[in-house]
């Protein structure tokens, strides 16, 4: 069953159940009251009638006037007085047979009794007059409220029940749709995301902490992690194909030339030396590249740990210079805080390493190995890392696309690359609740700013 239908059903059951309970309660109480009230009215008529018929003249006259003036005659009102003998046998009384015998019996034995058939209500009382004689007073009348009004009242309740049902149906339908709609939207959006467009994210509507926002955030976090792991593989391939080709070509070339004809031993030695040198470079590069790519492959769970930014930058400098010895990184300590504990961030070390080296390698690559300046400082809440190069820059109108995977700016034709590094770096920084800003001027250089919140001081 669809969740929406479930919600509708539950809502209807609850509300209709409540309305029915409410109606039954009202109906029961009103009719009960109508009965009790009517018997009271019969009683007062029976007593007054007995009084003015059986008592002393003066008193009786007053009561009779009172009764005639203030008590209206009920519909089909009928009142009979029968003298009771001392042995209280009533069966022989003339005209008593029109009353229900059980009712009369009860009146005689317990003093008063009530009885009703569908329309007519009966009240009986044994009246003892001032000269100590007992009389049986029986009064009957039609209860107009019960016969006419109660059915109208019943119909009214049924109609309002029906109307309430319709309103509840409508409300629960609208309500459930309102509840379900954002979830359906999320499902729709998540369906659109596949391996081809993993860089897409669900729009986060608000900052509040309701379940839908949490769900969206959870999905986005998951997508961040997924994309990062996908891309770190691609990044490796991209870096490797770029960096490993050059020394390999050189080795192959040297060997080829040496083998083309018979040569002097000195030439072989020289060639082998060159080859060895290149091979050593290659080995260094491979190990550095593997260091970057091993994230998630060492079987360890990726954990957020305390990481000092200065340490990280120094490590990255090492890696970057190993990957290509022509890369130059200058670290600017001019705004290094005096208190080193401020430099700690919560980070997954290999990932942060990967992100920072991507940013710095990009700087080196697009500035033809001009020095890249890296500076960092700490504000009250965040660590700021700046990577500044003097490279070719990014055209202003293309800045908005640089985080799209596989996008390469129009002025990068002379540089190898696949457009993976920057999106990956941004993903990793996002995973650390940080932000990456890039600003650039064509021909002058690019500045990447990484802002990461300071680690909790534990």
């Amino acid at each position: 069953m669809k969740t929406q239908n479930k919600i509708i059903l539950v809502l209807i059951a609850v509300f209709v159940g409540y309305t029915i309970l409410f109606s039954v309660f009202i109906y029961y109480n009103i009719s009960n009251y109508a009965f009790a009230d009517f018997y009271k009215r019969l009683e007062i008529r029976a007593i007054t009638t007995a009084k003015f018929q059986l008592e002393e003249k003066e008193d009786a006259e007053v009561i009779r006037e009172l009764r005639q003036e203030h008590l209206e005659t009920l519909q089909d009102e009928k009142i009979n007085l029968y003298p009771l003998s001392s042995d209280r046998s009533w069966k022989a009384i003339d005209g008593i047979e029109e009353y229900n015998s059980g009712f009369v019996e009860e009146v005689v034995t317990s003093g008063t009794a009530t009885f009703n058939d569908q329309k007519t209500f009966y009240y009986g009382v044994v009246y003892r007059s001032s000269d100590q004689k007992d009389y049986l007073v029986l009064i009957s009348a039609e209860n107009y409220f019960i016969t006419h009004h109660i059915s109208y009242f019943r119909n009214l309740l049924f109609i309002s029940l029906g109307v309430a049902f319709l309103i509840i149906l409508l409300i629960s339908f609208l309500f459930s749709r309102k509840i379900i709609e954002p979830i359906n939207q999320i499902i729709h959006r998540v369906n659109e995301i596949s391996t081809g467009n993993l860089h897409k994210r669900l729009p986060e509507q608000s900052d509040n902490d309701d379940a839908i926002s949490k769900l969206t955030r959870t999905f986005n976090d998951m997508l961040n992690r997924l994309e990062t792991s996908f891309e770190s593989q691609k990044n490796f391939i991209s870096n490797a194909s770029h960096e490993l080709n050059t020394p390999l070509t050189s080795i192959i070339g040297e060997a080829d030339v040496a083998l083309s004809k018979l040569r002097e031993p000195a030439y072989y030695i020289e060639t082998l030396m060159t080859i060895l040198e290149d091979a050593e470079k290659l080995s260094k590069k491979t190990s550095a590249l593997l260091l970057l790519a091993q994230t998630g492959f060492d079987g360890k769970k990726q954990k957020f740990e305390k990481l000092r930014v200065d340490q990280l930058i120094m490590d990255v400098k090492g890696t970057v210079e190993k990957i290509n010895p022509k890369n130059q990184v200058q670290i600017d300590f001019s705004l290094l805080p005096e208190n080193p504990s401020l430099l700690k961030i919560d980070a997954i070390e290999p990932l942060m390493h990967l992100a920072m080296s991507n940013l710095i390698i990009n700087g080196c690559k697009y500035s033809n190995h001009e020095p890249v300046q890296v500076a960092f400082g700490v504000t009250d809440t965040q660590v700021i890392i700046l990577v500044k190069d003097q490279g070719i820059g990014i055209p202003q109108n293309e800045l908005q696309f640089i985080y799209d995977p596989y996008f390469r700016a129009s002025n990068t034709k002379n540089h190898e690359g696949y457009g993976i590094g920057l999106p990956l770096a941004r993903n990793i920084i996002r995973m650390h609740k940080g932000q990456l800003y890039v600003s650039s001027e064509t021909g002058k250089g690019t500045v990447a700013r990484v802002v990461i919140p300071i680690g909790s001081s534990l």
Binding site: E338, N339, L342, G377, L386, S439, V447, R449
Partner: protein, 174 residues
């Protein structure tokens, strides 16, 4: 030795280069300093605005988030050199009131930039004129090696704060 330094600011990150320069100088000398960042601004003209005039709210209004984080950045760097840093507004109209302000605040040194400061409020005025003409205290003029940023990027100034170096211009008027 404890010094009190006045720094002319226009609430841009660029003006904080003066602060950086001042603190670097004091740091190498091993001094601790108190710093007052001062911005020149006229009092409001209308009486109603004057009634509700509050320095604190106005300063809050003028300081942007970039400026605040840059301040923290420098504070963290020079924790042991920088003793107290306050921000103040100067609203005097005459050279004499400025000189008196310097005496009252017990200022020992003034740092001002060689570049033209931005006016960050409609009533702002250039405090540098007063600074240039005063001879109560030691004035230090700082020149930056980078041009003021032309881009609209808010954080370009932040980048400058990291990478630009200030130079003290030898004073000629003394």
């Amino acid at each position: 030795m404890k010094k009190r330094i006045l720094i002319v600011t226009d609430f841009t990150v660029r003006s904080l280069n003066l602060l950086k320069e001042a603190l670097t100088t004091s740091h190498t000398k091993g001094e601790t300093v108190d710093v007052v960042l001062v911005h020149g601004i006229f009092l409001p003209d209308s009486s109603i605005d004057l009634l509700f005039y509050s320095k604190r709210t106005l300063i809050k209004e003028l300081t942007g988030s970039e400026f605040t984080s840059a301040c923290h950045l420098i504070k963290n760097k020079y924790q042991s050199t920088l003793n107290i840093m306050t921000t103040d507004l100067f609203s005097g109209l005459s050279q004499r009131s400025f000189d008196e302000y310097l005496v009252k605040e017990q200022i020992d040194e003034i740092y001002m930039g060689s570049w033209k400061s931005k006016s960050c409020h409609s009533r702002s005025f250039d405090l540098n004129t007063f600074v240039r003409n005063t001879n109560k205290v030691n004035k230090i003029i700082v020149k930056l090696d980078s041009e003021p940023s032309t881009t609209v990027d808010a954080y370009q100034d932040m980048v400058e704060l990291f990478f630009s170096r200030g130079h003290v211009v030898p004073s000629t008027d003394n």
